[in-house]
Amino acid sequence: MIYLDSAATSFLKPPQVGRGVMKALSSCSSPGRGAYSAAMYAADVVLSCRETAARLFHVPKPEQIVFTSSATHGLNIAIRSLVHPGDRVVISGYEHNAVTRPLYALGADIDIVSTRLFSPEEMISEFEKKIPGASAVVCTHVSNVFGYVLPVEEISRMCRLYRVPCILDASQSAGLLNIDFSELSPAFIAMPGHKGLLGPQGTGLLLCNESGVPLIYGGTGGFSLQQDMPEDLPERLEAGTLNVCGIAGLLEGMKFVLSESPNRLRAQEIKLMRETIRQLSGCNTIQLYYSDNNALHCGVLSMISSKYDCEVWAEKLASCGVAARAGLHCAPLAHKTAGTLDVGTLRISFSPFNTSEEIRAATGIMRKI
């Protein structure tokens, strides 16, 4: 299989991730549930993972790193902490359902900044008009459909200026773009562990500048007589047993990202994306959505075919051993903004572990189809 769906899950991972999971399975119990060696070893793995994440994202203290089961989980905590029914919340036109559905469920007044693809100046200008007086801003760092890198530094700066709390969705950027939590200073950044951070599915991180409102309530291993959740992070937002085996794998994934550097990993993905664009640009039945400016791109490429419905196209590719994703990618708003809502797109997304040979083979199959 040629795996080109890393924007969904980093199926290709460094081997130490699996080894970390297996080691945790055989040596870790639960942190905070005892002081015997298996519990303390688990606690050590968990703290090491927090410390590594704090280093990677420039977070002042490891307790500001909360483990979640996914970016969606983290976004739900963040949104429920800041948004109340009727609040006006400004979002980009490229948000995922992980942002829009919780806002919709809360009854927020969703104010969408709908600007063209790969037009950051236009987006900044529209955000500037809408941010003053808003209750919160929620913005993705990179569109999961088009790989468009949004100008989150500028958006964060405006949020600080107008004192509007900001939530960043780093689902497609964590591990691939430099994210400086201290400099951006948002209320929260949510990210999955299983994409650019190369960890297992079922892991995620929420970086917190605020203590937040718990989404779930229960045991934390401490202050058991107290019926309110603890005030201190991370326990406040981490009721129940942690996914220690997943966290152990995530720790190894993040160590790999730190050793290679996000910039290098992204550069490899961009190189593969450019190769794909070169190979497919002569095909007049395929329309590609991309920018020539690498600064505006991560390794995600959407396309439509004049010959096939995107789902049929993806099925044909799958039958030839190419794994790609088709449809709306859980982000109908992004398609609406870009004008592809009626047809969806075929999306191919790259991993630093993909090779040029794989790209040549996959694009050869695409041209032939």
Binding site: G32, A35, D44, D232
Partner: protein
């Protein structure tokens, strides 16, 4: 006699123990004695009495918040050194 430094959570106790180890003070994490906690289960860091002054300085320098400091006085009894 061992000294117990109480912490608000396991995460704080771990961070405290790491700061102490980095300062050359031998420290081990333990569950705090039930009768010394007013909110239920809690964690503490155990050190030797000779390292107490240095330990508290290291924790303060490391910006690690700690709670009561207790001395084990034998037969399950604890005496508050600092609160």
């Amino acid at each position: 006699m061992p000294i117990l430094i109480m912490f608000r959570s396991l995460t704080y106790a771990q961070r405290g123990a790491r700061v102490l180890e980095r300062s050359g003070i031998s420290a081990s994490i333990a569950k705090a004695p039930m009768k010394m906690t007013d909110k239920g289960c809690s964690y503490c860091v155990r050190i030797s009495e000779s390292g107490l002054t240095m330990a508290l300085t290291a924790l303060e320098r490391g910006d690690i918040v700690y709670g009561k400091v207790l001395r084990f006085s034998g037969e399950g009894e604890y005496q508050e050194v600092l609160s």
